[in-house]
């Protein structure tokens, strides 16, 4: 896989023109891997996100209001 795009100038010299478009798939793949890993984590490992503080705060806030 190429890392850079190169072009030739008027004198035939190679000049750097940017990064290779092949790298686009590396970045897309990184996002897909992150998303899949997160889905698996939420599905298999994540603790139950119960709201332990909410009820106490709700009572306190109701009293203030």
């Amino acid at each position: 896989m190429e890392l850079f795009r190169v072009s030739r100038n008027a004198w035939g010299q190679e000049t750097l023109a940017g990064v290779s478009w092949d790298l686009l798939w590396v970045f897309v793949g990184a996002a897909v891997v992150f998303i899949v890993v997160h889905i698996l984590y939420k599905w298999l490992l994540a603790p139950d996100a119960s709201p332990p503080h909410a009820s106490a705060d709700r009572t306190e806030m109701d009293q203030k209001l």
Binding site: G18, V19, W21, L24, F27, A31, F34, P51, M61, L65
Partner: protein, 228 residues
């Protein structure tokens, strides 16, 4: 807040209208800019005009946001402090089942939102800073192209940084959209559309001692007060 006259709204302000307009303007311009990757995958279309116009819109929007965030909002709320790091350690222990109690709730912005914001901010600023001189490579309504404005080495560096930052923005947008549509995060997405969260969301996800959210009613009464 006195409530003798009427019961206060159950809706609390999370994002004001100007901030939502900024967010969606930035989102639309970034999506247009990212369509410039489509010709790479075979979908050819004349992308250059749409790209530079969306780039100008993004630049103006980011400049507006920076001024507003620094002078009209509370930039300290975006700083990462010891409290964030302590909560991160607690969260890690909680995930690993080494801690029974849920981690401390954050103020207005949780650590991961701060990290995402700062990361994307750096990437967007890199694309803006490198995209502005690139406009010298094309003819526009108020200027003529001058591809020799910079040396070939400088142009190469600009293109490399612009390309890498743009690709990384694509990664960030994919992850951002993924979280925006996750069922347990829809209340955050709703707040970016309508501006408010419910009191239940507020008490579940934030520490009221660290972020004193205004109700929609209070916000209407104090529309000109500085945001804190």
């Amino acid at each position: 807040m006195a409530t003798g006259e009427h019961r206060p709204s159950d809706r609390l302000i999370r994002h004001r209208l100007v901030d939502r307009v900024y967010h969606w303007t930035m989102a639309a311009s970034v999506l247009v800019l990212l369509t410039s990757f489509l010709p790479i995958v075979g979908l050819k279309f004349p992308w250059i005009d749409a790209h530079w116009i969306a780039g100008v819109v993004l630049t103006v929007a980011v400049a507006y946001h920076m001024v507003r965030a620094l002078f009209w909002q509370d930039p300290r709320s975006m700083l990462i402090g010891l409290r964030d790091l302590r909560a991160a350690v607690q969260a890690t222990q909680w995930v690993l089942r080494r801690r029974a109690e849920a981690p401390d709730r954050p103020g207005r912005y949780p650590l991961l939102q701060k990290l995402y914001h700062h990361g994307v901010a750096i990437l967007i600023l890199l694309t803006v800073v490198t995209g502005i001189p690139m406009m010298a490579k094309i003819d526009g309504p108020f200027w003529t192209r001058d591809p020799y404005l910079l040396s070939s080495g400088t142009w190469a560096a600009i293109y490399v940084v612009h390309d890498l930052a743009a690709m990384a923005v694509l990664t960030g947008v994919m992850i951002h959209v993924y979280f925006a549509i996750r069922p347990e995060k829809l209340w955050i997405t709703r707040s970016m559309i309508f501006g408010w969260i419910t009191r239940s969301d507020y008490l579940t996800h934030y520490d009221p001692a660290l972020w004193q959210a205004e109700t929609v009613d209070e916000s209407k009464r104090a529309a000109v007060a500085p945001e804190r």
